[in-house]
Subunit: 316 residues, 2 copies
Amino acid sequence: MTGDANAPVCVLGTGLIGGSLLRAARAAGYPAFGYNRSSAGVLAARGDGFDVADDLPAVLRRAAREDALIVVAVPMPAVDHLLADIATFAPECVLTDVVSVKGPVAEAVARHGLSARYVGGHPMAGTAESGWAATDPELFRGAVWAVGVDEGTRAEPWRRVVRLALACGSTVVPVTAAEHDRAVARISHLPHVLAEALAVAGAAGGPLALGLAAGSFRDGTRVAGTAPDLVRAICEPNAAALLDVLEETLTVLGAARDSLRADGTLGELVDAGHDGHTDYRTVRRWEITDVRPGEHDWLARLREAGLRGGVLTALD
Amino acid sequence: MTGDANAPVCVLGTGLIGGSLLRAARAAGYPAFGYNRSSAGVLAARGDGFDVADDLPAVLRRAAREDALIVVAVPMPAVDHLLADIATFAPECVLTDVVSVKGPVAEAVARHGLSARYVGGHPMAGTAESGWAATDPELFRGAVWAVGVDEGTRAEPWRRVVRLALACGSTVVPVTAAEHDRAVARISHLPHVLAEALAVAGAAGGPLALGLAAGSFRDGTRVAGTAPDLVRAICEPNAAALLDVLEETLTVLGAARDSLRADGTLGELVDAGHDGHTDYRTVRRWEITDVRPGEHDWLARLREAGLRGGVLTALD
């Protein structure tokens, strides 16, 4: 499928994202194996014929032996523990992750001395479901997959991570950790916060309000059905960026409130929101074709292209 | 289909809701005709074989002659003009509406001296589309349809309105105008406001953020795709109730911001939001079977039942 489809992928954490990645990687021709902390998760994956174990040192020794690409696929609070063992048992492996924030992962990776072979990743896919039972080898098809282009990133590990993302059917968006985290605060973490607040407001109206609720409430609250621990694990590690955009949004909503109270109008908010929705509906992803990994300024050029909506759909 | 399926329905305004009602009423066996202000709308409806005209006095005279049930199906800003002509040409007809707020319509109806035969209505159905082209005779099937039980409502017109809602495939929620307006501020108008604010926040992140957006942003902003004039016509007439719940929500979001800043946690919001979403997912509609329209205290008893989630799925 890809140039290094014979080098294995080692997925640590076989929940919705990690388990789907294990399936997608194998479907794309990669030898793939994994680790899961819970024996129930291990049994579920094995029951479907996947090579998953709960002995982390053993899995990591195998990854080192086979020069596997290691993918950290656990929620942020569990990342540090995994990295400690990776530093012990597989410090030379190329390392990526699919965690929902990138700055805190990169900092943890640096603390464990693993930065040289690390390239952050974040596939923008998921459902309100979780666990092996929800995994789907097609989860990443047609999705975008953020891949890090921070200063110091090396070309060889970067290519391996990008190849895996492309092999899973995704389009790659090159982005630095800080810019990723600011962007996802806007389009992933703020949606969670607003959905929770909307669910609170609806439920305060009791059975009458909830019984009258139709499409706008259903869609607006959908992600409030996500398990609270998972929402916190996604949003809280990105507190700084989320605080900025939450503050912005409180200002926007406060101005709408003032305008509705003083003049009976929501015109300014509604026009701006409709314009924003139009931007979203019409945003064009364009293909970056003129940057070769490793050449002069490749990281800065990819970063700049990513900010303008550039993506990668193939590698050489 | 129903007891008075032979008495015609006269729909004023043949956009998404009114046009769909014209289709649904005819499909349920009602003779049905209508009025639309724009000749383009009239031609579109006629092209599909519907009896729609742009001469409002003539349509209303016919409604009076045929003892039609008149349905006002225009946005709030256009209601007053229609009521003036109804008071002139068809003051004795039973009158209902499908406008998204009930208090302001009831006040306008009272100003025109039409309260005696008026029963407010609001089918909780719609899409981001509008106009005749989007109409669908099945739009109301499986939806809930709020029907007014304000003091002074008379049993005979009430039964006619309820029969029409049931014939269109909806379940009827009995509710007073004030309680309706407070409820829809929570589950319909606040979702619009939050969707607009989310679209603004996402677009402020430029092509990078919008290009990374996935399911949570798509669902959270869906109704921001609605035409701005329509959103304003839906939300602004309910300013008082919307201001109350917007204020509540600003408080909830402000507390979440404070908690995230001070302690790095969104726990309180996320737990409350998840509980609210669970309430929504598990809200049970139960059937009201022990209230006969016109009997002692029927309006108060229906109102009380509606507040507790009671609905009507049949009439006698």
